[in-house]
Amino acid sequence: TRPRQASVAAKVFIQRDYTNGTMCQFQTKFPSELESRIDKQQFEETLRMLNNLYAEAEKLGGQSYVEGCLACLTAYTIFLCMETHYEKVLKKIAKYIQEQNDKIYAPRGLLLTDPIERGLRVVEITIFEDRSTGSGR
């Protein structure tokens, strides 16, 4: 372990929002533990974007039907060689989270964990301890 590693002060878990059914959506309520670290607007923007991306992954539309019908005709063997639309969007989401971490959350001592690593149950936000010299920005 590296000696300069900041220790984890707390973890916040953003739970799923099931008001629209089983679609993957996360609650956008701003957790109180983050109040001192990031503004509400920024946080809600990130979550809203994530929710939009997940909605895109699960959208029932032209492309998903074409994929589904094609798969059915090939006895679903096509899934063995083709990347599904859902997987493509998940890659987009991973990139978005990486980007958000780099630009916005890491400078504030926070870390977003990709929900896929938590089985799409929660968005885990790790809060790191403030440096003793103060969070001078």
Partner: protein, 366 residues
């Protein structure tokens, strides 16, 4: 094993490379394990995690045997006669149906039905905290139940003690596989796996194509026997001439009704976007509530429901069974409780990111 890392290098054999430390697997940082090896549910994995089935494979071997055996008899004994006397399309149609049946059966049995990975210890602790803080006598639902409003219907989400999380709607915990499965339909012993969100379409294809295959074989065998007994020979002599057909007749006759019935039932479920579990429990029917009790997940159109269930986007497996566990320095052997492993890999992958983020944070704050 103890001396494989601190080998004194003989200067005379400096050119020979040190042997790969495969013997001391536990101490080697290069040893990687995949997540399926520490999976807490009752599943078995093959091909390095690519294939999974429930631990109790039920009667899957019997299902496969029946299908393969009956189909082989059909192709060997009935097809030559029918090709000669009726049409040569018969083995082609039979072949296509057979292929669909076998492929969809294997996919249903060997794929992840939609297992939800168990909550990490941090998450479980957080939920416990929320439950404790909200449990008071004035709170109407018991603490381990959450109520959600979906499409104007109140849906109760139960807490799963094994997986340590509140189950999403339509999720159920299968006791045979010891997993929470999304959109849990039922655990099918014939297929040896749970039927859930990710493999329902394979299961449906399997039973529908199997009904077609069984009906087709039954029809062909009947035609075969009818044609054979035509020349005044009688049915008995026809059966004696082709005993295999008699066997197929028996198997198909007794199974076609149940398979057709099952297909019909599941077609109804697909059209109304219900699961067997919900239908059996009567979750959405016969509610005595004042509000109109209906299925909140239905799109209220048979066509849309069918499309959504059968042709909707297929989510990837959430358990990431072929993902690599970060190489631990001191791997807990199999006896270690799975929670520790989960914490290990969860924290480890974050720590690597934490390092780089920490550096970045340090550079930002100067």
């Amino acid at each position: 094993m103890k001396n494989c890392e601190y080998r004194q290098i003989d200067p005379q054999v400096l050119s020979t490379p040190t042997p790969p430390p495969t013997q001391c697997a536990e101490k080697t940082p290069k040893q990687v394990r995949r997540k399926w090896e520490v999976f807490p549910g009752k599943n078995r994995f093959f091909c390095d995690g690519r294939i999974m089935i429930a631990r109790q494979s039920g009667v899957l071997p019997l299902t496969l045997l029946l299908i393969l055996f009956t189909s082989s008899l059909f192709f060997i004994f009935d097809c030559p006669f029918l090709v000669k006397h009726v049409t040569s399309c018969i083995p082609v149609i039979g072949g296509v149906l057979f292929t669909f049946v076998v492929i969809s059966l294997l996919q249903t049995s060997f794929s992840d039905p939609g297992i939800l990975p168990r909550a990490t210890p941090d998450e479980a602790a957080d939920i416990e905290k929320q439950i404790d803080s909200s449990s008071s006598s004035s709170y109407r639902p018991p603490p381990r139940v959450r109520e959600v409003l979906i499409n104007q219907q109140v849906v109760k989400l139960k807490y799963c003690f094994t997986c340590k999380m509140f189950r999403p709607p339509r999720t159920s915990h299968c006791s045979l596989c010891d997993n929470c499965v999304e959109r849990f339909d039922h655990h099918c012993p014939w297929v040896g796996n749970c039927v859930g969100r990710r493999n329902y379409r394979f299961f449906y294809t399997f039973i529908v194509s199997l009904s077609f295959l069984t009906a087709f074989v039954l029809g062909c065998v009947t035609t075969h026997l009818a044609l054979r007994s035509q020349g005044g020979k009688g049915v008995i002599s026809a059966l004696q001439e082709s005993p295999a057909s008699a066997l197929e007749l028996v198997v198909c006759f007794f199974s076609v009704w149940s398979i057709l019935g099952l297909s019909g039932f599941h077609t109804y479920l697909v059209a109304s976007n219900l699961t067997t579990n919900e239908d059996i429990k009567g979750s959405w029917s016969g509610n005595s509530g004042l509000q109109s009790a209906g299925n909140p997940y239905s799109y209220n159109s048979i066509f849309t429901n069918c499309c959504a269930v059968l042709c909707g986007p297929l989510p990837p497996s959430l358990i990431d069974r072929r993902g690599l566990l970060p190489a631990e320095d001191s791997p807990a052997a199999a006896p270690a409780p799975p929670e520790i492993e989960l914490l290990g890999f969860g924290a480890k992958t974050d720590i690597n990111m934490e390092d780089s983020c920490q550096d970045f944070a340090v550079s930002c704050t100067g």
